[in-house]
């Protein structure tokens, strides 16, 4: 990781939420930082090109549309890659991770409605021969204020 300038640090840390909704948000940020608007835009473009910023925009509430769940499976170690590939075959699966637990395969399933979500889970079970644990979100307690960086 390279060193970040004070301007970059503030751009990364201080504007993760509450981006100004005025016609000129980047000029507003610039005046807050005491720099030119072009400096803000150039820095943001560079950070985005480097992949440190994925975008400047909206993070949406999960489950805003359709139905989704977090699913987990207990897969024998030697079968993990095979079963992971079976799970990946489903277009409804959008994250699939190994985790260090007896439930060692974790993935997110998103479908248009609850019925097709359940059908997908059943299909994964029948193709893999392994039970799928279905853990839908019941309540969201997370207050998203962005992620505070520690620059030390």
């Amino acid at each position: 990781m390279r060193q970040y300038s004070p301007i970059e640090q503030r751009l990364l840390n201080d504007f993760q939420h509450g981006l100004p909704l005025s016609p000129t948000p980047f000029a507003d940020i610039a005046s807050e930082l005491g720099v030119y608007e072009t400096t803000v835009l150039e820095n943001l473009k560079r950070l985005q090109t480097e992949g440190v910023i994925s975008r400047i925009g909206a993070v949406f509430r999960p489950n805003r549309v359709g139905a989704s769940t977090l699913a987990a499976m207990m897969v024998p170690e030697q079968d993990l890659e095979t079963v992971a590939a079976i799970v990946n075959d489903f277009a409804e699966v959008n994250h699939n991770y190994e985790r260090n637990h007896r439930f060692n395969l974790w993935f997110v399933v998103v479908a248009n409605d609850e019925e097709s979500l359940q059908a997908t889970l059943q299909e994964i079970e029948s193709r893999s021969g392994i039970k799928v644990m279905d853990l839908p979100m019941e309540q969201d307690y997370f207050i998203d204020l962005g992620f505070k960086m520690q620059w030390t």
Binding site: M1, L11, L12, F15, Q16, H17, G18, L19, L21, P23, T24, P25, F26, A27, E37, L41, G51, V52, I53, S54, R55, I56, G57, A58, V59, F60, R61, M74, E81, A84, A85, N88, N94, H95, N96, Y97, E98, R99, N100, H101, F103, N104, L105, W106, F107, M133, D134, L135, P136, M137, E138, Q139, D140, Y141, F142, D144, L145, G146, F147, M149
Partner: protein, 177 residues
């Protein structure tokens, strides 16, 4: 045509446009307005409405933790007494190093945990320290929990609310129970 249908169509295209990120130009909302064939004011009002409705949880710079050196992500699962889930859910969800905090159903006997929180750190020991801090400050010494670190990533596709990151291979260390 029904106004609600028009509003819905407009909102869908607005959501798609801002989900991909604002163009880095002096008047980004105007640029989006041109794309959607509407006024700049309508774009700004639309975003305000989505924020008020809590459809947008956060509007700003979206960073990639991993690119900034936060390489470990631990899913911490807690077995919280039902009577305290709301209080503790809100409390844990407010820590700035916690990036998700959801209540999910228990699946007894295999799975006793009902609260899931995601914690990002520079490495696994960093994550463990954050968890210890939560345990101490919220007095959770009697509460059973586990930290599940991610190993191989088999698939990661851009759900727009996704905040976790790409493939890694980490030593598989079992951490407490």
């Amino acid at each position: 045509m029904d106004m609600r249908v028009l509003d819905f169509a407009f909102e869908s295209s607005l959501i798609e446009a801002i989900g991909q990120g604002l163009p880095l130009v002096s008047r980004p909302y105007e640029a989006i307005a041109k794309q959607l064939c509407c006024s700049e004011a309508k774009v700004i009002e639309g975003i305000q409405r989505l924020i008020q409705r809590d459809d947008i949880k956060r509007f700003g710079v979206v960073v990639r933790h991993r690119a900034l050196g936060y390489r470990a992500n631990g899913m911490v699962v807690w077995d919280i007494p039902d009577s305290r889930i709301e209080e503790l859910g809100h409390r844990i969800g407010r820590y700035d190093f916690v990036t998700l905090c959801y209540q999910r159903p228990r699946r007894q006997p295999d799975w006793p945990y009902n609260l899931f929180s995601m914690i990002h750190g520079r490495d696994q020991s960093d994550v463990c320290k954050q968890v210890e801090l939560i345990v101490e400050q919220c007095e959770l010494q009697q509460i059973k929990y586990e930290i599940l670190f991610s190993g191989r990533c088999f698939k990661q596709r851009g759900a727009i609310y996704s905040r976790t990151a790409g493939p890694i291979s980490q030593p598989r260390v079992a951490v407490n129970g």
